[in-house]
Structure formats: structure tokens, C-alpha cells
């Protein structure tokens, strides 16, 4: 346990190897933002190749070197490396560290009225595994043959015979997974043991519920992938054959170390993690949206208990839907029938949560603040992401749409226009709490509209491409006749859809500049704000902004639910959770 001494810690103890959940949270925030930008940069280079195949990459092409892009023209190997690393970085080093590492670390203790996490040293270890794990992942570009290039899913046997960057990917994944496991144990113990007096389970904000269930998912799902990755590491390094059947012939050479293994085994282990992982990506975002909506509608969240039940149900069901990623893998067809049914069932709690969030608007008094605009945009855009999951979960339609751009469009609507948009809104919402200053509203609106419009310009064409049968992970669409019309052929005037997507990706990057400037300018120069600028009810608004080490300056006693807004007979339109808080 930490002692909350008031004496000044040296710089490296205060900001580098800090035990304070808020500092660790901010370390996660800024590190994850760097990784998100790196992952985004990778995909912009890929998008160039897709829009203008076989032409010199502008600006950076000459710098990439002969092993990646001779003469500035991308090699297919390099495209596959960027693709695999884009997915891995965005999921494991960008969104999860942002949604769980940053949001969970910073706001979960504050919302339950705790002075810190239950295990501050474990928390420190968690961040200091994440950062080296991420650097290890990036360093794999320097391995002979380049970085991992078998997709973020790394299916064997392709991944087992891939160049040595794949070994680095596996080692790095083991480190990153260990980091997440330490974090998840910490979140679970903190939520169970460190709630303020009076903060019963059904007085917890939805954000806390979402983080709690997310942590449980991570704890149960990640060890399976860790085991799966270790087996693949053994297959690569000491030539076992957990995933290699007998009789493999690679490029005309008979492989001697195969035999007895199963390529599908890895897929089961991978998706046993990676489907719950989808909910790890989305639940924290739903939590953030719930907080923003409750505050900005000045009304209790609609159907609080329904939302809580739906989150728990969603978490439980997420463990029995993984094989819907494998409908065409060659697994037994009767298994596909079962997993289609569970997949259809899991849409129900999602519909319930989204319904409650939308119903929350009815009878409310909506303040269109910048965070609220992001939270509102989340609803229809995540809706598109969720709805387009339907034909992918249904067997006959999935036969056609599987592994096409339709899938790419679907999960980018879920994770980017859904999760990332929500998490951006959360930064605007909690910025005054974290730094005691406000961000600029006008530039926030510029960032909002630019981001939302360009994201749709990138991802919506993917549905059209998927319907036309364009497969994913193609380095050059021109190599196959059925792909041309919806990718590189002129579609809008002289512009092809791939060009539109490339231009929107560049524009999306440009629209992040006001966001970044807004963050760093407001950090130092933003107008100072009070403890509770939004007049919100949950506990994090009941401590100074920014919260000091140890967080709360007075004893807390929680007397009511999380979203008591506009209570009839109360003199203000917000009734804080803690007694005497205001």
C-alpha cells in the first residue's frame, strides 16, 4: 500500500516510475496516443499503395530502403508487414492501453472513491511491461526479413515459416499479455475491495461496471492466447509441431519437422481470446459514453439495471462465440451451427445497451458540449458497426462476405467510429479533471466534424468493396479482375474509391492536429476550471482538479446512485453521490 506522503518525490519517482494510478494512467494515455499515431501512419502508407499501386511513396518512399521499398515502391512483403503491425499495434498497443490502461487506471479509482489502485507496484509493473513490449514489437522491423507479416491473427503454418520478425512478435505478445493480466487483476481487486463506504454494487457508475467486466474478460481470455503464442514460439524456435500437420511441402521443399499438429488448434486458441477482446475494446467505450450522456442529458441514465445486466451477460456470452471467426476454416459444420446461434444471441445485450443509451435522450435536456457530440456520434456509428456484424454472424451470408472488405468495414466501424470516437470524447470530458484546465470548444468542434466525416469516407466504401467480393489483405487490387471496379477503377468522376479512402485517411490525420495542439496547449495555457465544471454527480468530480496524490481531501460517504440528475424537489439539477459533495 502507498503512503500518501506530502513530501516532494524526485522527478523519476513522480513521473517515470510512479506508483500513483493517475500518473500511470497518463503514461498509458500518452504512450497509447503515440502507438495509435504509428499504427495510423502504417495504414496511410498501405493506403497509398492501394490507391496508386506500384508508384513511389511520396515524402518517405526514398527513406524506406531496399528491403522494404526499393526505389520508394512498396514490396508485397512490406505491405504484409505493415498490415500485421497495423492491426497488432492498434488493438494491443493502442486501443486497449487507451481504453483500459488509461481510462481504467485514471478514473476507476476516482469513481469508486479510492485513494489509489489496490496494488500500486503491480500497476507500475504493468505499464513497464507494456512500454518495452511495444518497443520490442516495433523493433521487429529491424529483424532479418522484416517484421511479422502473417496478419495480426498470425495463423500457422504461414506464421511458423515466416521470417524471424514473427519470433519477435510472439515474444512481444507474451510481454504485452503479461502486462494486461497484471492490470486486470489489479482492476478486479480494486473494484471489489476499495469502494467508498456506501458505494454498493448498484450505485457504481456504468463506467466502473464496464471496466470491471473488461478486466474479468482479460483475466480469463488472455492466458489462452499466451499459451497459444508460446506453442507457436516453440514451433518456430525448437521445431516442435503443435500446429503443423505431416507432409508439408514449402516452396518445393519437404518440411521435416511437421507432423501430428493442427493448424486449426491455433485458430481456436487465438479467437478464444480475440473475441472477448472485441468486448475489451468496446465495453470501456460504452462506459465512457454512458457517463457523458448522463451528465449532458441532466437526467438519470435510462434502464441502469438493464445496462448492468446486459454488460454482465455480454461478458459471459463473449466466451462462447469465438468460432464465428472460423465458419469457413474447415471445422465441423455442426459447430458452425452452434456458434451462429450464440453469435445471434450476443447481439441482444448490445441492442439493450444501445437502446438504453438512446432512450436516455428522451425527456432530457441535452447540452451539446464537445464530449457530448462525440458520445452522440458514437450511437449511430457504433450502430452501423453492430448491424453489419449481422450478415457476418449468419452462415450463408458469411460464406460470401468472410475475409472480404465487408469484415474490415464492420470492425473499423465498431472500433474506430465506435470505440475511438467515444474515447476521444472522454478526453474532452475528463480533461478538466485531469489537468484543472479546459480544452478549447471551437477547435474541439472542428476536430469532431473533421474526424467523423473523414472516418466515414474511409470505412463506408469498404462495405461496397466487400459486397463486390474484394478480399482483404491484398497488396495490389489490380491483380484480380473482380476487384477492379470498386477499388482502382474511376468511381466518382475520375476518382476511384481507393483514392477517396486515401484522401480521407490523409484528411483524418490532418484533423488530428487541432486535437493534439488543443491537448498540449490547454495542458499549460487552457482556462483554469473548478472542481466540477460539468456539474456531474459521480465521485471523481468530488476531488480537486487535478486530484492530488491520494485523490480525495475529505472522507466520502456515498448516499445515492450514480446519475441523480434533475431530482424533483432538489434545488439544483444534480445530486452528487457523496453526502455533502457539491
Amino acid at each position: 500500500m502507498t503512503n500518501h506522503d506530502t513530501h516532494e518525490l524526485p522527478f523519476w519517482r513522480k513521473y517515470i516510475f510512479s506508483l500513483d494510478h493517475k500518473v500511470i494512467g497518463l503514461q498509458y494515455l500518452f504512450t497509447a496516443m503515440v502507438f495509435l499515431l504509428i499504427g495510423f501512419a502504417f495504414v496511410i502508407i498501405m493506403r497509398w499503395q492501394l490507391a496508386y499501386p506500384g508508384t513511389k511513396i511520396p515524402l518517405i518512399g526514398g527513406w524506406l530502403g531496399d528491403s522494404f521499398a526499393p526505389g520508394g515502391i512498396m514490396l508485397p512483403e512490406f505491405y504484409n508487414q505493415l498490415g500485421a503491425m497495423h492491426g497488432t499495434i492498434m488493438v494491443f498497443l493502442g486501443i486497449v492501453p487507451l481504453g483500459v490502461g488509461f481510462y481504467g487506471n485514471y478514473f476507476l479509482p476516482l469513481q469508486i472513491g479510492a485513494p489509489d489502485m489496490a496494488f500500486p507496484r503491480l500497476n507500475l509493473a504493468s505499464y513497464w511491461l507494456y512500454l518495452p513490449g511495444g518497443l520490442l514489437m516495433l523493433s521487429s522491423f529491424m529483424m532479418p526479413g522484416g517484421a511479422a507479416q502473417s496478419g495480426w491473427t498470425s495463423y500457422p503454418p504461414l506464421s511458423v515459416i515466416a521470417p524471424s520478425g514473427q519470433t519477435m512478435w510472439l515474444l512481444s505478445m507474451v510481454v504485452i499479455i503479461t502486462s494486461s493480466l497484471l492490470g486486470s487483476i489489479n482492476f478486479i481487486v480494486t473494484t471489489i475491495n476499495m469502494r467508498a463506504p456506501g458505494l454498493t454494487w448498484f450505485r457504481l457508475p456504468i463506467f466502473v461496471w464496464s471496466q470491471f467486466i473488461t478486466a474479468i474478460l482479460l483475466l480469463f481470455a488472455f492466458p489462452v492466447l499466451e499459451g497459444g503464442a508460446l506453442l507457436q514460439l516453440l514451433d518456430r524456435v525448437i521445431h516442435t509441431s503443435f500446429y503443423l500437420p505431416a507432409g508439408l511441402v514449402i516452396s518445393g521443399v519437404q518440411m521435416t519437422n511437421g507432423g501430428g499438429g493442427s493448424a486449426l488448434l491455433y485458430q481456436h486458441l487465438f479467437w478464444f481470446l480475440a473475441h472477448p477482446e472485441v468486448y475489451v475494446l468496446i465495453l470501456p467505450a460504452m462506459g465512457v459514453v454512458a457517463e457523458i450522456i448522463a451528465t449532458n442529458t441532466r437526467k438519470p441514465l435510462f434502464g441502469y439495471k438493464t445496462v448492468v445486466a446486459a454488460i454482465i451477460f455480454l461478458g459471459a456470452l463473449s466466451f462462447v462465440v469465438w468460432a464465428h471467426h472460423m465458419f469457413l476454416s474447415g471445422m465441423k459444420t455442426s459447430l458452425a451451427r452452434i456458434f451462429m446461434t450464440t453469435t445471434m444471441v450476443i447481439s441482444l445485450p448490445s441492442v439493450a445497451i444501445l437502446s438504453c443509451l438512446v432512450f436516455s435522450l428522451w425527456g432530457s435536456s441535452i447540452r451539446f458540449s464537445v464530449p457530448m457530440m462525440f458520445a452522440l456520434a458514437f450511437l449511430p456509428l457504433f450502430g452501423i458497426g453492430g448491424l453489419t456484424g449481422l450478415p457476418l454472424g449468419l452462415l450463408p451470408t458469411d460464406i460470401y462476405l468472410h475475409d472480404t472488405y465487408y469484415v474490415i468495414g464492420h470492425f473499423h466501424y465498431v472500433v474506430v467510429t465506435g470505440t475511438l470516437v467515444a474515447l476521444m470524447g472522454g478526453i474532452y470530458y475528463w480533461f478538466p479533471k485531469m489537468f484543472g484546465r479546459r480544452m478549447n470548444e471551437g477547435w474541439g468542434k472542428v476536430h469532431f466534424w473533421g474526424t467523423v466525416i473523414t472516418m466515414n469516407g474511409i470505412f463506408f466504401p469498404m462495405f461496397i468493396q466487400g459486397m463486390a467480393g474484394v478480399q482483404r489483405r491484398l497488396y495490389d487490387f489490380n491483380a484480380q479482375a473482380h476487384n477492379l471496379l470498386t477499388t482502382t477503377a474511376p468511381a466518382i468522376g475520375k476518382m476511384s474509391l481507393s483514392e477517396l479512402q486515401y484522401i480521407c485517411a490523409i484528411a483524418l490525420l490532418i484533423f488530428q492536429i487541432p486535437f493534439l495542439i488543443n491537448i498540449f496547449y490547454s495542458l499549460f495555457k487552457g482556462p483554469k476550471t473548478e472542481e466540477n465544471p460539468w456539474k456531474a454527480t459521480t465521485l471523481e468530480w468530488d476531488c480537486p482538479s487535478p486530484p492530488p496524490h491520494g485523490n480525495f481531501t475529505h472522507e466520502l460517504k456515498v448516499v445515492r446512485g450514480p446519475y441523480e440528475y434533475s431530482v424533483p424537489g432538489d434545488k439544483t439539477d444534480w445530486s452528487p453521490q457523496s453526502e455533502g459533495g457539491r
Binding site: 504484409n80 502473417s150 496478419g151 495463423y155 503454418p157 515459416i161 505431416a246 511441402v249 519437404q254 493448424a263 435510462f302 434502464g303 438493464t306 469457413l328 476454416s329 474447415g330 451451427r337 445471434m344 441482444l348 441492442v351 438504453c356 438512446v358 432512450f359 436516455s360 435522450l361 428522451w362 425527456g363 432530457s364 435536456s365 441535452i366 447540452r367 451539446f368 449511430p380 453489419t388 449481422l390 450478415p391 449468419l394 452462415l395 450463408p396 451470408t397 460464406i399 460470401y400 468472410h402 475475409d403 472480404t404 463486390a468 467480393g469 478480399q471 482483404r472 491484398l474 497488396y475 487490387f477 491483380a479 484480380q480 479482375a481 473482380h482 477492379l484 468511381a491 446519475y563 434533475s566
Partner: protein
Amino acid sequence: MIDPSNYTFGLPIAASTYASKVDKSLDIVHAAMAVIFVAWTIFFIIALIKFRSGAMPKANYAASKGGLASFLPDAAVLLFEIWLIFVVGLPIYAEIKENIPAAENATVVNMVSEQFAWTFQYAGADGVFGDLDPKLMNANNQLGLDRTHPSAKDDIVSINELHAPLGKPVILYMSSKDVIHSFFVPEFRVKQDVVPGMRIPLWFDALKTGRYEIGCAQLCGLGHYRMRGEVVIETPEEHAAWLEACRLEQLGTPS
């Protein structure tokens, strides 16, 4: 040459017996998605306008409690999905993936995929496929056939072109030499991963003659994007002539 008019800005032409059923299920699901999305969006926009703080300075506390009526969207979705699974999903899936037609009335072909090609094996007059031996596989003998063995003597091999006569279903038995590939013909609405160590059946029955593109749908290495082939559906006469030409070329003997 593949007819470019096979492809449009929407779905490609439906060129197999079950393609239109897949299209019907795509239509149903997308219509439902559109209805749900439009209904939600209308509700959403009305709420945003009606309850903006300018028009509605005070929120209604009681509006946060919904009766059973608030579960109507869930109930509607549940009923729709039950119907979708049992009436639409399972029968079409069973037809495509489970009810493989009888071999007697079909063109049965073995397929072996590798980085980055599809190799098709025809059993020849005896109707028996020669064994594939990894030890014999090389650049001139992709399948590792032992031509001295009786079953392999009359086998015909075709690379990246699957020829089949119109009017009979084609059954492919698919396996892979190296990594996972995925056999995908957009016009037939069929796709199946091809997994080393497994022999997975796939069938289709084309509606008209012509050439249809085979794409690989599973990342299989640096040549994944150019791993393509063609299904050539021809009249029975053309098919017989093609087989005969192959026989002369590969076996040196007419039938």
C-alpha cells in the same frame, strides 16, 4: 478472358444454383438492417431536436424508468433472429456446405493449393485419383504423382484452371501443401479455407458457361494478392475436347 460485365458496383452476377439464395439472404439481412437503422435514426434525431437544452431547459427525472415496453426492440430483434437462423440461415448453409451432391452425377476434382497456385487433379478414365506423395513433389510434378502407379497413370493435372462441364455439379476435394489458402469464386458465392492436413469438400453447380475468377481469400504470403485462377465452365463437348488435349499433352496417349 473473364467477361468484365460479370462485375458491377454491387454484387457480381449470380452464376451458381445456390448464388441467388445467398443473395436473397443478403437482401433480407440488409433490408432488416436498414429498417432498424432508419427507425433508430429518426427517433435519435427527433430526440436531439426536441430535447435540446434550449427547448427543454429542465429534464424529466421520471423518464429514466421504462416499463416492459422498453424491451420491445430486444424482443423484435430476438424474434427476427430466430426466424433468420432457422428459416433462412440453416437451410441455405446446409445446402452449400453440408449436402454435398452424390459423386456419381458430379465432376469430382482434387485440388491442392500452394503458394501461390491452385492445382487441379482429374482422376481419368479409372475414376481413381493417384496418391499424392510429398516426397515426389517438385516443380514438374506439383502433386507428387507416381506415374508408374496404376491409379495415377491416367490422371490429368491442370494448374490455375478448373475445367468442368455445364449441367453437372462440381465437387472439389481441397487440401494444401504449405499454408492455409481460401478458395473463393465471387460469382458462385462460395468460399472455403483450404487447410494443410485436412481434405475439405466444396461443391457448386454453375448456371452458364464462361470463365469465373478464383481468388485466394486467406493471407498466404507475399504473393497472396496475385494468387488467382479461373473456373472454366464449358459445354460437355468442349470439356471432352479439353480433356483429350490434356491427355495427349500430359500422358502422350489418346484415350
